[in-house]
Structure formats: C-alpha cells, structure tokens
Amino acid sequence: MRLVLACLAVVLVPFSAWAIPPIQQATLANGMNVLLMEAHDVPMVAMQLTLPAGSRFDPPLKGGAAALLAAMLTDHTARHEHDAWAGFLDQHALRLGSDVDKDAMHISLTVLRESLNEGMGALSEALLHPGWNEKRFSILRQDAIFAARKALEEPGVVASVAAHGMLYGDHPYGHRSEGSPDSLQRINMADLQSIYRRQAKPEGAVLAVSGDITMPELLRLVRQHLGSWAGRPSIGRQDIANPRPVRGQQSILDMPTTQTLIQFVRLGPARNAPDFFPVFVLNHMLGGGGFGSRLMEEVREKRGLVYGIYSYFVPLTVSGPFTIMLQTRADQADEAEHIVRQVMQTFASGRISQRMLDAAKMHLVGSFAQRMDSNRERVALMSMIGFYGLPLDYLQTWSEHVRAVTLQQVRQEAMRWLKFDDWNVIRVGPIKR
C-alpha cells in the first residue's frame, strides 16, 4: 500500500516542485570553503578540491605546467615513492585524480564509505606533501610530450590549438591546458614548484562533497587531515585582464582527412555575466540542445551534411571561448558553412519565435534534475558554485532564472552575440593542390 501512495504522490506533485537537496556550507579557520550535499543511497562519497591554479598560471611559453603539477601531486608524495603510493591507493580502492582547466586545478576523490579516512588521508598527503621526484618528473613530462603530439592526429585538437592563439594571443587563456610538445619541453620542476608555492593555498579553495556522509563527520575528517594547511594564493581568482575581442580572422589548416572540420569562434560571456541565463537559453536554441537545436535541424536533419553540430560557450572568470563546430565531407564544407551563416543571421536579425523559446525552456527546466542525479555531477556543480562565488541557492533558483528569460532578452542577446562578422573561422582538412 505504501508503494501505491508513493506512486500517487509522484503523479500529483508537479515535477518542478521537487525539493532540490540543499547545499550545506562551512568555512574553516584557514579560509577553505566546504560544501556538502548528502546522499545516503549508495555507500560512497565523491569529492573535489578546487584551487586557483589552472593553466592561466602557466609561465609564458610553458603551457602545460599546471597540468604537469596536477599529475605530479597524485603520482607520488614525500612520504611514499610512486610504487608504494600506487599500492596504497589500490589497496583501499581509492580513485584519486587531478586535472586542470583554464582557471582551476581539481583534485578529486571517489571512495567507498568504509575507506573514507584512508581516502581523505591520501588527498591530504597528495596536496600537502608533494614528493618532487626528479625521475618521475622526467617520465611524466616525456609521456605528456608524446601524448600532446599524438593528440594532433585529431582535427578537433588542431583546430583548438589555432583557436586559442587566434582568440587570446598572449593572454593567460591563450593555450590548451594540456600544453603542446614544444611548451612541455621547456618546463622544469622549478616551474611546477613555483605554481604550487604561490597558488596551492586554502583561502578561496573549495572542497565540494556529495555522498554518504554528514557535515559533522566531514568536518572532523577535514580538520584532521587538512587542519594544518594555511595561507592565501598570491594571485586571486579575479586578478586577470579581459581579453581583447578579435573578429573576422580566418585560418585554413591542411590535414589529410576525408572531412573538413569547421570551427566558428569568438569570445563568449564570463561566468558572472549579468546576462548569463539569456545567453545560456539562446545557445540551447542555437546548438546546445542536441536534436532540438536549430543548427542540428538545418544542417543534419534537413540536409544530412553532418553527424553532429554543436555550439557551446565556456564560462570562465573572464570571457571564455564561444564555439560552433561541425565536421563534413570536405567537398560539402562550403555548403555547411553557408547554412551556419544563414542560421546565425536569422537569429541575429531577431527572427526567434516564442514557441522556440518555450520549447527550450521546457526542456531545460524539465531536465534539470538529471544534471544532478549522481554524486559526481553534484560535486562538479558545487565546485563551480563555490569557486566562482555563486549564491548557495543557485540550484534552487536555477529553474526560476531560466523561466524568467523573455523573448525580447533572447533577441537582444542574439543580436549581440551572433552577428556573423564578429566571428572567426578555422578550417581543418584537405587543401586541394
């Protein structure tokens, strides 16, 4: 009988009224921000520590330094050389990882509840007691150089290298976080140590946690394992110049492929932009919403020119890239580019209907719960909220913000962001000789 009642409740309560689990927050004496969403259905905990130590802190011409630092921190420690460390992590089934994006470094841990103490100990040891083993450094750097070269077999990577240079020049965002074979070659251990000494500090750092744990338990573990950590980063998250807009640039890169990849790029909105939600909804209609989006409709569904076409922007501290990307058989590239240009012009001239807007909003609001139906997704969302200083009720008010977007706003944003002449184009594919 209880089951039947539960089922009725689901039918009667409107979906959007679902109470999103609140984010619990605590600030430690050392300035670290701790965020938690409890979820007790699976005996596991996922967490992520986020620091202002992303690839924007790479020294000039040494792209990839922060990424190598992240790899070094989880590879071995001052207390455990590499083999013993690997043995310890495996023994307790700890999933300890690290990576960087442009703004931030992330150290992540997924752990069975029963191994929480060992897991927290491992995260703390990796962060606070780096080993700086020269031999491991030279192996990791060499392997990263080869991997960066192997990656150039992908047309998307070749285009991304070009897009970074085109949009940002020598701005700190102007290279891929992974670095290039040349930039990685120039990095030495002192570069890593310098980023670590300056940026790996608790003030402004965020520890986001989701899973089978309560705040008192979590705080006890955090104080035990990260209590001695102190200091503030020498460069704050917000200390970064705005990049200068670039428009009308073209780049054509030769690659012996059957398809041509086309990337349309420009600078996009920052994470804290006041018009974030209208642009977000606009992008969903343009090419962010998969099969419902206009680009997919025109280029794939109506004409069969591509397998996929997408648009997305990366919201960072300052303008991240706004990108439209497609791949099509090389002899169809002109036609595909023409269609994309037409769609952008249609949008930019304000021809967007209320019906389209309503469909996009319904999809976004209705599928919002899916964005946080796992511990790892919740951790990623909380890290973003904490690191970029968004309000703690961000998830609770997200749907309201989407619903509040008006047709007039979306039209204004389309005029502002989608004028074709404000974009740049990169093509990667076979050049006829």
Binding site: L3, A147, R149, H363
Partner: protein, 447 residues
C-alpha cells in the same frame, strides 16, 4: 558505443563490465508475447531511465549489408504512424527528457532519461514507434548520408580506430565481431530502404524486446503500463541469432596499417571465452582479474613495466569484456613515441605475460584487483544510466541480470594460480594477431 572505439574507453570498459546492484532488488515480469520487463526502483531523485533493449545487432546482418543494424537504429527516429520525422525526440525534450540510442554487435538499445512522472507516456511512444515505424525512402536517403559522415568522423579520419578495425577483421574468420558495427563504407553506399524494411520485419518482434526501467517508479504500476503497450504487440517468431563458433587460431598473424599519423601504435588481440554462468565461472572471472592486474588501478602492471620501467611506450592498456556472445576479443595496446619501436614493445609485452604465466602474483596485488572490481560495482550504482545498461546487456546476451551476485562471488573466489593458468592458456603469442600503425608522413602542415 562502437566496438572500434572500445580501446579508447579501456578502464571504463572494465569499470562498466559489472555495475552494481544486488540482484535481489530487481523485479521482473514476462508477457505472453515474449516481451520482458526488468525494474530497479530507486527513489533518490524524481527521475527515471527507460531503456528498450533489442536482441538484434551487427552480428545479425547478412554479408554485404554491414552497418544495417545501426542504420536501423537511426531510422527509429524518423517517424511512425503517429509521429513525424524527429518528433519523437522533440516530444521527449518537451517533457524535460533526453533520448538517444546505441548499437553494438550484440544488441540495440533506445533510452530516455525523463521526469519519473512521465514514464507512462514514454512507454506508449516507444511501443507505438516499435509497432508502426514509417521507414520513408526520402528520410532514409538523408540519414544514410549522416551515417556516412559518422563513419568518416569516427573511423576514416582516425588512424587508431582504423588499426582496431583492421585488427578485428584479421583476427577472426567467422565470428561477426570481425565486422565494424558502423559498417564498411563500401556496404553503406549500397544499402537500400528495402534492406531496412526487411530488417524491421525480421527482427523487431516482441520476443526480442526487454524493457528496463531504473529510477523513481513503482514496479506494479509500470508492469501494468508495459502490459497494455508492449504487452499488446502481436507475437511473431524471431529468427535465430547468428552465433558461429570461431575456429581456434593456427598461429600468430600480423598486419601493418600505413596511414597519415603522428606516432606509431601497436595493438595485440586474441579470442578468449566469455561467461556462461555455472559453466566457466572460475576461468572467466580469473581472466577479468588478470586484466585488472595488467591494466587497472594505479599499479597496473603494463604501465609499470612497459612505460615506467622499460620506457617502451608512453601509454599502454588492455581490455576484456566477459559479457560478450560466443567470444571476446581480448586486447592490449601500446602508444609509441617517435623512437620507441613496435618490436621492442611486443618483446616487452610477451616477457611480462610470460612472467605472469609462470609465477603467482602476490596476495596484496590479487586482493587489490578483486576489491577494485567490486568497488567499481558500487561506484556504478551512482548512475541510473549505467545501472540500466548493465541489466539490459546481461539480459540481452542471455546471461540474465539475476546472475549478478554469482559473478561477484566468482570474482571473490579467484586465486593466484587461477590467474596464472588463464594467462598461460589464453594470452599466448601463437594465438595473437598483432597490428602496427605506421605513420605515413603528410606533406601538409596541418599537424
């Protein structure tokens, strides 16, 4: 989801090779027309994952028609009696859902992540398109071009995918894992709407259907809904599945793939057994543990010996899927730097395998490998998609989702000597096919 891409998701494939659910949580129902329903209730968030699994995939294609199962999957989105082309996905989006599908050699599956309150509607829509697909010739003409672009993107322009495609085609003589799921381009250019219609008629019958639902639903309620949707489809006999016995390899095989690429790569593969519950538990679980020791965790032996110590490659891994049909192609690969040679990598690989085949591994490494496989079961519970997918594939290949606990038991019972023995018996140079990607330099400057 294509086999050709499997190697890219190595550790993942091991992780997902066994998701976590206690089999006792599952509830299932059979309908008279052959449709089966399996439900895993989970009430943490008001979301449900609906997956419709079909016992048909690339293995069921006729010669000259490779890629047809996957082409068919695309056509399921191109309109039915009640819905226009593309309308299925639009309706799913409008209720706040997301949908997609995937095809492998062994199965085809369609899935929707939706607000749990809309499950009834989605099941009706799924049953309607299943029963009354339109299969319009003009839609097909457009979609086959989309699929050719998909092949260009995933395979033609990716030298590593092509190496794996050639490797499978060379390693096997009879078993359908020798053909790519996406299809050979030569076949894709000749498929017709009549082929698609014949495939529909033969394979899209109720007894090939397994409906899997994971999420915030009530079993009795969805049983009734499936009963009045899928349960009412007219029964028809499904053709027997194509399950030939692959002849044992007669000696080592080699192939060379010369394509524009930045760096060389070596891949090694051989056919190995898959799980038949109650028949080969010990052997197959030992193969899974052996693969975990070689390629899983932070102390993966391949990485430690061949990359860290001997510097024979800059990245290496291995993969095994114990839940295939008939056989699995066990594989290992090495990504090589400009001065690392295929010959040295292969020699180092077989040296390591030789050691593992002749010496028992220590108890700490064995226990860590088993614990890791079991921990991944727990971590996989975190995702509705993975939970549903594991149920679906265990059902569709004939193992049965209820055997899940038996699999974990088999993993727990593996001993050091089991691991040594399966490596000695199955991972052998004289059974292996080895492929080398040799970069052909390109005069352009794109890369």
């Amino acid at each position: 989801m294509h086999r050709t891409l499997l190697f890219l998701a190595l550790v993942c494939s091991l992780m997902t090779s066994s998701a976590a659910w206690a089999a006792s949580h599952l509830k299932s129902a059979h309908f008279p027309n052959g449709v089966k329903l399996v439900v895993d209730e989970s009430h943490e968030a008001p979301v449900a994952m609906v997956q419709v699994w079909l016992k048909v995939g690339g293995r069921d294609e006729q010669p000259g028609k490779t890629g047809l199962a996957h082409v068919f999957e695309h056509m399921m989105f191109k309109g039915s009696r009640k819905l226009g082309p593309g309308e299925f996905s639009k309706r799913i989006a409008a209720i706040g859902g997301n949908d997609n599908a995937f095809t492998t050699h062994d199965y085809t599956a369609y899935f929707e992540t939706i607000p749990a309150s809309r499950v009834d509607e989605v099941l009706s829509m799924e049953a309607e398109r299943f029963a009354h697909l339109r299969l319009d010739a003009q839609e097909f003409a457009k979609e086959i071009r989309v699929i050719q672009e998909e092949r260009r993107m995933r395979t033609e322009d990716d030298p590593n995918s092509r190496l794996f495609e050639e490797l499978s085609a060379t390693a096997l003589r009879l078993h359908p894992y020798r053909n790519p799921v996406i299809g050979w381009m030569q076949d894709l250019k000749h498929l017709t709407i009549e082929d698609v219609r014949a495939f529909y008629k033969a394979h899209y019958v109720p007894e090939n259907v397994i409906v899997v639902i994971v999420g915030d639903v009530d079993f009795e309620h969805v049983r009734a809904v499936v009963g009045r949707t899928f349960g009412r489809l007219k029964p028809r006999q499904a053709p027997p599945r194509f399950t030939p016995v692959e002849p044992e390899p007669l000696g080592p095989k080699r192939l060379l793939v010369r394509l524009p690429a930045q760096l060389p790569m070596v891949a090694i593969t051989m056919p190995v057994p898959v799980w038949q519950p109650g028949k080969n538990d010990r052997e197959v679980a030992a193969l899974a543990v052996a693969t975990q020791i070689l390629a899983g965790g932070y102390g993966a032996r391949l990485q430690r010996e061949l990359v860290d110590r001997e510097r024979l490659a800059f990245q290496t891994s291995a993969g095994y899927d114990p839940f295939g049909m008939g056989i699995d192609l066990w594989f290992a690969y090495g990504m090589l730097g400009p001065k690392q040679s295929a010959e040295h990598f292969e020699a180092g690989f077989w040296r390591l395998i030789g050691q593992l085949a002749s010496h028992d591994i220590g108890p700490a490494v064995l226990e860590a490998a088993k614990r890791s496989i079991i921990a991944d079961e727990v971590f996989a519970q975190d995702s509705l998609y993975l939970r549903a997918k594991e149920i679906g594939r265990m059902e569709v290949v004939g193992i049965g989702a209820e055997h899940r606990d038996a699999w974990l038991d088999a993993v727990r019972k593996v001993t050091s000597s089991d691991v040594r023995e399966v490596i000695h018996q199955w991972i052998r140079a004289d059974r292996a096919t080895t492929g080398v990607l040799q970069p052909k330099t390109h005069r352009g400057g794109g890369a």
